[in-house]
Symmetry: C2
Subunit: 404 residues, 2 copies
């Protein structure tokens, strides 16, 4: 008789963004005349840039002709894309990453969910609180988190690193020693960033206690301040302790186009076993690569025109971030983030619960945010707003919030 993975049964409710989506869907169905503006899920709204569109058309034409048709992709992804990544994302920042340390994938969500698979179940994870739900949920599914305490909203075998107003939303080195540390900078959901010096402390710590850092840099393209590193490998010693996850979703508007990559340096070794080799084996066995035409689309992001166009798009979103941040501040709200990240972290007024404020925003202002409590217990009393709307919608949403 077959038995299911009982760890799945421990999952609390359904995935945060699905819940938000359902609530919005229900409200909209009951109020078809209302124009709901979403500053909720981190989905982009601007179209793919011209260089990317051109590259997709060109690659599609290749797929239409026998002589230039492409079947299965190489296990790690096409060299043309890995070369562009190595050069632009790393080489230009003085970081040397070999082509076989880069694994092309369909996105950072898949990679951050799947990466745990190359680690023993007997590792203790540390996560920021609040945190992107996938890190914790994928570890619940793997059976690494222990039992859930409904009272505290915490898992018995997870080390939480609170990011609160008190510590300026920056995680502190944990008291208990973890085996795997999830870090995300610029941060989702708080929008906070890390300086090179602060991140160096994490790298030194991980090397000292022989922990591995899973570094989610999905939002690095939004960094505006010089002192914030774009990759963890700007820190000395990071290659012996850190895996880096990257995404084209926010860098180039690929949320519906699906492309990302993971870097695992060959120096990252445990008992003589290279994590790079384990991940290569997973890629070879359980994945068949991103589509050829999408990999060509990714390459186009690094062309001269592609860089210029995607930078303009990011500037557009970061202008929205400024509108939200400054608007909310001027209405008396307490906000952070939005400087090196497309996320604004908003303290709810009068200590309201996150979901209550979500309901108020939805029903009274027809604006969708993401409840901070969905990201972890320390997110209670906060709301995440994103800068990914259109400028016009963002301005209108702020006007509505002003009149709340």
């Amino acid at each position: 008789m077959f038995k299911v993975n009982e760890n799945y049964l421990k999952l609390q409710g359904s995935y945060l963004f699905s819940n938000v989506g359902k609530k919005v869907h229900t409200y909209q169905a009951e109020n078809p005349d209302k124009k709901v503006i979403s500053l909720g899920i981190g989905d982009v709204t601007q179209p793919l840039v011209p260089s990317v569109i051109e590259a997709i058309h060109k690659a599609t034409e290749e797929m239409a002709v026998k002589e230039t048709f492409h079947g299965y992709s190489p296990d790690l992804g096409y060299e043309f894309l890995r070369s562009a990544i190595a050069k632009h994302d790393y080489g230009k920042r003085g970081v040397e990453i070999a082509l076989d340390e880069i694994f092309i994938s369909d996105g950072a969500k898949s990679d951050s969910g799947n990466i745990g698979e190359i680690f023993s179940v007997d590792n203790k994870i540390a996560v920021c609180d609040p945190v992107y739900p996938v890190y914790v949920d994928s570890n619940i599914m793997a059976g690494r988190t222990g039992e859930y305490d409904a009272l505290t909203g915490k898992w018995s075998n997870v080390i939480y690193m609170p990011c609160t107003k008190e510590n300026d939303f920056a995680p502190q080195l944990p008291k208990e020693t973890p085996d795997i540390i999830y870090l995300c900078f610029p941060n989702n959901p708080t929008g906070s960033a890390v300086t090179r010096d602060e991140l160096q402390k994490w790298v030194d710590y991980a090397n000292q206690v022989k922990a591995v850092i899973i570094y989610d840099a999905a939002y690095e393209a939004y960094i505006s301040q010089q002192e914030c590193p774009h990759t963890i490998y700007e820190c000395e010693g990071a290659k012996t302790c850190a895996i880096e996850l990257r995404s084209f979703s926010k860098k180039a508007g690929f949320t519906g186009t699906r492309l990302g990559f993971t870097v695992i340096p060959k120096e990252l070794v445990s008992d003589g076993v290279m994590l790079n080799q384990l991940w290569a084996r997973r890629h070879g066995t359980k994945y068949n690569g991103a589509p050829y035409i999408i990999q060509r689309a990714g390459e186009a992001v690094y062309s001269e025109a592609g860089q210029k166009e995607t930078k303009a798009q990011i500037a557009y979103y970061m202008n929205n971030a400024r509108v939200i941040r400054e608007g909310l501040k001027s209405y008396g709200y307490s906000v952070s983030g939005g400087v090196n990240a497309p996320y604004i972290w908003l303290a709810t007024p009068n200590g309201m619960k996150s979901w209550d404020f979500f309901d108020e925003l939805l029903t009274k202002a027809n604006v969708v945010g993401t409840p901070g409590s969905g990201f972890g217990p320390s997110g209670e009393g906060y709301m995440r707003l994103t800068a990914f709307g259109t400028y016009e919608n963002t301005v209108e949403a702020l006007e509505r919030i002003k009149n709340l």
Copy 2:
């Protein structure tokens, strides 16, 4: 101190097709003047059909304009694609599959590798021998297979169902009761098919012992004989015991375009838990959908023109299969498959080992096959040849084999 997943260290050598690729690469590098013809890895060679190309161009133009841009896909995939699947792959065969029983993915390799995750580690799997390596390898990674015996080439906790000349390459119901049964029809690698009556026996058996069947129907589009079912749900009772995996790779030449889907009926329940819900949760948490433009490409496969064009492509490959099968037979080889599948299963001459015959074919005929032993112990002494080459190459390869 972090610890790796030690199950990964049990994996034998690297992935079969990577090994074949490396051998061919080395030979070609040393013999740049030789024209090597691959009848090895099951990769298609014909370009995407016009309807699909047109759909990709059109969807790409949508992605270029704000008003028609698509961000994140719905968790299960776009309804337009799931509707087309429900109608054409199931409804037309008298099988009713609901839209929320269909999960769009990037391909059957990912799904067959990941599906094990929703099951307890404490399930015993049964596989055909020989078998597509992903089924066993992904279970090794999960810790379900026990220990490897180098002498027999078998895992201690796996039930093997030999498919040999003696049983006409058809697996028999196992003596020991399994929890999870992997079946693939039309079969990779032997090219054998199953009749509706034979498959019904498996469905009845699974329901009786409460096992789940993971039914890989990636090659269903190649079925030519009326008595062979295109989906396991043509069998009575299959909805309470079977998960079906499907792929566009061979149906429409999508090996480099990446699209597939998995069907999990809501009737498939264990102790009140719907497998459908577990897989939905995995999709929501660890995956972000296939690209919009690729889902539109998949939809185009079901258009009137798309069906006509892809059927012509399959006929082209099946003509190659006929050339290989009849050619080899006329040279005195013992062959099977190639009637309902693009694979021909060839007994090596004079009881040669599979890899020895691989080397002989490569170096003397410059033809690449896939060693049968790579698919399991009962594959020793066989070679898999595929019909996915061009007609000209297939004819030339056969001519060379004739002169061996």
